[in-house]
């Protein structure tokens, strides 16, 4: 039954992307959903992770720095580290100021990194990007479907791990401080919580997840180029978070699935309906559709599909069970 096999193969392919996106959206949710940090440069931090991991693990690239050929696990850890360092530097500059400044500064990061990816040929391979990024276990598992399923297991495991860790984090005293700062910084400061430090921590951890997501993407596709990390990626990820419900980790994952499904579906429909010479133009309509979706959600259902839980502390749960409705 080739059809069923094709469907299965397509399904795993779809789910691998969805889980990688969900991982990145979880990072974004920590920043925006719980801490109120507006990061417009998500694509930039994802790119940092993807390029770092590629440079650490790929076989030696001629005429170019990197291609160290180290184990993939090291690449992923390195990806998280460099994204975290980038976030730390930007955070120091922008997190002390009003939230708009972080938005503008992170936008600048994404634009600048895009320029670096395009032009620093000695590091990033320029417009052609980096190739031959090793796929984990590819030498053991040769069947492509089996490999895709294996990779899906890896990404799902990492997603599950991050979900559990984040759920614990946001329910811990640390997570409650984040929300307190988001809601009323002055009040939180007057209780002795240094808002800047907490913000910086949340920003760095969120960006590390984005870097990991980038690395997972790079090792799945095996090839990265600057055009994989355009502002549209940031926009898709934001739409996922808003549609799913910011401030809710399950919402973030659900949003990633729903929006990615809508995106691939609308892409397929447009490819079917539009003659090939108009494909490039039709692709712009896809962005318009997703943009309208985001704006409609913002206008009509600002809390998203799954809204934020109003009570997260297990100590408070029993007492406020009846007043929990909002």
């Amino acid at each position: 039954m080739p059809d069923l096999l094709g469907l299965l193969s397509y399904g795993t392919f779809f789910l691998v992307f969805a889980t990688i996106f969900a991982l990145v959206v979880l990072g974004l949710n920590l920043q925006w959903g719980f801490t109120g940090l507006f990061n417009v440069g998500v694509a930039g931090f994802v790119a940092v992770g993807a390029y770092t991991s590629a440079l650490i693990t790929a076989p030696n690239y001629p005429d170019q720095i990197g291609g160290l050929g180290l184990p993939i696990l090291l690449g992923w850890l390195g990806a998280m580290a460099t994204s975290g360092i980038a976030a730390f530097i930007i955070g120091i500059a922008a997190l002390r100021l009003r939230h708009d400044y972080l938005a503008i500064a992170t936008f600048g990061v994404a634009v600048t990194l895009q320029l670096v990816a395009l032009n620093a040929k000695g590091l990033t391979g320029g417009p052609f990007g980096l190739q031959f990024i090793p796929k984990p276990f590819a030498d053991v598992i040769t069947d492509s479907l089996a490999w895709n399923v294996t990779y899906l297991l890896i990404t799902s495991a990492l997603l599950g791990l991050s979900y559990v860790a984040l759920e614990r984090l946001v329910r811990s005293p640390w997570g409650r401080v984040l929300r307190a700062i988001r809601e009323d910084e002055t009040a939180a400061e007057s209780l002795g919580k240094r808002a800047f430090r907490f913000r910086l921590q949340a920003f760095v951890v969120g960006c590390m997840l984005m870097g990991l997501g980038g690395a997972l993407y790079a090792h799945f596709v095996g090839y990265i180029a600057p055009e994989d990390f355009l502002p549209i990626l940031t926009f898709q990820l934001w739409t996922m978070l808003i549609v799913g419900g910011s401030g809710n980790n399950r919402g973030a994952i659900l949003g990633a699935l729903v929006v990615w499904a809508l995106w691939t579906l609308s892409g397929n429909v447009l490819r079917e309906l539009v003659p090939s010479e108009y494909q490039a133009r039709a692709a712009t309509l896809q962005v318009v559709l997703i943009g309208l979706l985001l704006m409609l959600i913002l206008l009509l259902r600002p809390r998203g599909l799954l809204g934020e839980e109003t009570v997260v502390s297990r100590h408070m749960r029993d007492e406020t069970a009846d007043t929990k409705k909002e």
């Binding site: 708009d100 936008f107 600048t112 395009l118 962005v287």
Partner: protein, 305 residues
């Protein structure tokens, strides 16, 4: 050297005109508008459409004096300014006004980010992505300063026109903000919206005026960019970072700060070309931005943080 300075002033003019819109929206509507770059793009493309329409009806006109364009471009600029202002008001009505009533500044920023992508892709859908020009005539640059003085200076009449009209726009805006009732009301709203409302200022009218001024200046900036470089759907996106850098450098809310900031960012971009290469010129705006955030986040002329 002189040539780089002159180039910097010309890019700086475009940035300054755009940054005025960013800073006005920021200080009166209180959010960083990521869609402002798209007003530049739409302004430039709508002027191009109007130009084609005019030429189709009245036939091509002789260029005015030494310039590469004739009267049709000036008329097209005026038509486009009206249309772009209408577009800005429409976006505000459909999107930003709804969110203002029950949302916070961050929702507005995100909505503007979405609006930017929708506007840019819609434009690309309509016009395609091939670069366009207002005029294909090749202009001979005039040598103002001979080559042996600091490398000399050559400038095209169009570039002089850009500098001149920028100066005229800024001076008239200054007159508007300091002499007219509406202008004074705008400054009052920017300083303290609650107090302005209490004194009977019609805030909705102020917001409309803000969008109209921002859009008209964006159209002028967009057309200048199209005139001195070319028309591309990414025109506004590429200018967005310099616009923000200029607005923050000048101090949010300060119109004169935005002009000075725009010229400084333009100069920095131009002067950085021999150092880092033309491909990284946009990153210069980012460097300026980070530097100002670290050293003096209120900007050169700003009071508020």
């Amino acid at each position: 050297m002189l040539q780089l300075v002159a180039d910097g002033f010309i890019i700086g003019s475009v940035i300054a005109l755009g940054a005025i819109g960013v800073t006005l929206v920021y200080s009166i509507l209180r959010f960083a508008n990521f869609a402002h770059g798209e007003l530049l793009t739409w302004g430039a493309y709508l002027a191009w459409t109007a130009l084609i329409g005019i030429v189709a009806v009245w036939g091509p006109a002789e260029p005015l004096g030494p310039f590469s364009f004739g009267w049709p471009l000036l008329v097209a600029l005026a038509i486009s300014a009206v249309a772009t202002a209408a577009l800005a008001l429409l976006v505000d009505r459909l999107l930003f006004r709804q969110l203002r009533q029950h949302g916070n500044a961050i929702t507005l920023i995100m909505a503007s980010f979405g609006a930017a992508l929708v506007l840019r892709n819609l434009l690309q859908f309509i016009y395609g992505s091939i670069p366009e020009y207002y005029s294909r005539e090749i202009q001979v640059a005039i040598r103002l300063i001979p080559r042996d003085v600091l490398g000399g200076l050559r400038i095209t009449p169009d570039q002089l026109f850009v500098l001149g009209l920028t100066a005229v726009s800024v001076v008239s805006l200054h007159g508007f903000l300091t002499r007219t009732t509406l202008g004074k009301a705008m400054r009052a709203t920017s300083n303290n919206p609650q107090l302005a409302r209490v004194t009977g200022i019609d805030v909705d009218q102020i917001i409309r005026a803000t969008w109209i001024i921002g859009a008209v200046l964006a159209t002028v900036a967009g057309v200048f960019s199209g005139l001195t470089v070319q028309l591309r759907p990414q025109l506004g996106l590429d200018l967005l970072l310099p616009l923000f850098a200029a607005a923050i450098l000048g101090g949010i809310g300060s119109v004169y700060g935005a002009v000075v900031g725009g010229l400084i960012v333009g100069l920095a971009e131009s002067l950085s070309v021999p150092l880092v290469g033309a491909e990284y010129r946009a990153a210069t705006a980012f460097a300026v931005l980070i530097a100002i955030l670290l050293i003096r986040p209120t900007g050169l002329f700003g009071e508020r943080t």
